[in-house]
């Protein structure tokens, strides 16, 4: 079994509850991994485990068939994570935020202005983020994904706080990323309509 990103026998226990047990998945370039489940079913925890933030009870996550725990730096250099909390500073402007983010991970050689245009945030560039709406802040977080030059996208509930146009845009962006040979792990509690090979993990 070879896959770009894979996992087997994952078990996670938090405090008194077992969130998932003997879970496995595989993901190859161009594919989407969909984590499905109700709120509180452990999607976010699984996402955090994939990102290497939670220590698992059993099991291992593999990147290029090599345990992630043994190549953390390389693995983290290949992913960008759209988390529940955006991880952006409310006191700083969009540009200041993204400039700092640029140091954290490899950056793609792309036209920033065009990306801002497409996400409809170029007018907001000089405002502190706290004056932006939740939906606009999500769009800034999306800009972070587009600016990073990484194959793996981790998206935790990417549609929250977005209007219909925004949701459509996310679908479009994911499809483009997959077409270009990228990968995406997405946690969602509703059904989504994405034109791609979808592997499902039910929680």
């Amino acid at each position: 079994m070879t896959a770009k990103l894979s996992a087997s026998e994952l078990t996670l226990i938090r405090g008194e509850t077992c969130l998932f047990q003997d879970l496995g998945f595989a993901l190859n370039p161009g594919e989407l991994l969909l984590l499905e489940g109700q709120n509180g079913s452990g999607k976010t925890s699984l996402m955090r485990s994939i990102a290497g933030l939670l220590s698992l009870e059993t099991g291992e996550i593999f990147w290029n068939d090599e345990p992630v725990s043994r190549q953390r730096q390389e693995f983290h250099g290949s992913l960008v994570w759209l988390a529940h909390r955006t991880g952006l500073k409310g006191d700083l402007t969009l540009v200041e935020n993204l400039r700092f983010e640029g140091i954290l991970r490899p950056q793609a050689d792309v036209d920033q202005g065009a990306i801002f245009e497409r996400l409809e945030i170029s007018r907001l560039k000089s405002l502190p983020l706290r004056s932006l709406s939740a939906g606009q802040q999500r769009r800034v977080a999306l800009a972070r994904m587009l600016l990073a030059d990484v194959p793996l996208w981790l998206m935790d509930e990417p549609f929250t706080n977005l209007d219909r146009d925004g949701r459509k845009l996310v679908v479009q962006l994911v499809e483009e990323h997959l077409e270009a040979g990228g990968m995406c792990v997405m946690a969602a509690h509703q059904d989504i309509d994405i034109n791609a090979t979808i592997n499902r993990v039910a929680l």
Binding site: R14, G15, E16, S55
Partner: protein, 250 residues
């Protein structure tokens, strides 16, 4: 070899062995303490300077020694637990902390009681050992406070292990800096530590007390580790079988 070691330190194995281990540590320990107490109080000749007050060392020195030994257990346990993810090691750390705090407290109080007739005061800041012990007590408090404020046991284990390791470096620095500090202020020294300069009838009871207390500490620690193991493994099958077994497994 590794497998054997792994089996030896597996929680159910320890839980069983620990129960038989405790009396083997406690009985010789208590016997040594009984001898040491009797010999120290009645057989050892009195100190030519301190008179009979010197007999306090028979409890003070073992307590002070164990206060540091317990900290070493805590730090080693934490380090092993962090590196090899050994659950038993974290349980050792958790069990050693309250014992260590108790012995540190004893060392402090017996030191203060000794100080009253010798220095004419209950507390002498100028004494480097007492001051170091006091800081050690605060380190124990910090460790236990951190542990109790984190609900998730696994997380509490790791966080407190980091603190214990940082603290163990600190204990050394505290020792030397306090020594330097008290030398500036012409501090008074508590007891001259036992050794070749001590008469045999004074020294043997002291050695008996130190060994006896160490064994007793081992027994107390072993019991606390058993409790920790039982609590940590409460969801496992072996605990379930233990509890449901007709004869019980207390």
């Amino acid at each position: 070899m590794w497998k054997f070691f792994h089996h030896l330190t597996s929680p159910p194995h320890y839980y069983r062995v620990g129960a038989t281990l405790i009396p083997w540590l406690a009985i010789p320990g208590l016997a040594l303490i009984a001898y040491g107490t009797y010999a120290g109080l009645f057989l050892a000749s009195e100190d030519y300077q301190q008179g009979d007050a010197f007999r306090i060392i028979y409890v003070h020195v073992p307590a002070a020694y164990l206060s540091m030994l317990a900290y070493a257990f805590m730090a080693f346990g934490g380090g092993i637990g962090l590196i090899w993810r050994m659950k038993l090691a974290h349980a050792v750390g958790a069990a050693a902390a309250p014992l260590g705090a108790a012995f540190t407290f004893l060392a402090l109080v017996t030191g203060a009681i000794w100080g009253r007739p010798m220095w004419g005061t209950w507390w002498e800041w100028g004494d480097p050992r007492l001051t170091s012990e006091l800081i050690l007590l605060f380190l124990y408090f910090g460790y236990m406070a951190l542990r109790s404020s984190i609900d998730d046991t696994a997380k509490a284990d790791k966080a407190s292990a980091v603190l214990a390791l940082v603290g163990v470096v600190n204990v050394v620095i505290v020792h030397y800096s306090v020594e330097w500090w008290s030398s500036l202020h012409q501090g008074q020294t508590l007891f001259k530590k036992g050794g070749p300069g001590m008469d045999a009838d004074m020294l043997y009871p002291l050695l008996a007390m130190i060994f006896g207390f160490t064994l007793l500490f081992g027994a107390l620690l072993a019991r606390r580790i058993r409790t920790e193991v039982l609590f940590r493994e409460r969801r496992t099958r072996w605990v379930r079988e233990l509890v449901l077994a007709p004869e019980g497994g207390k």
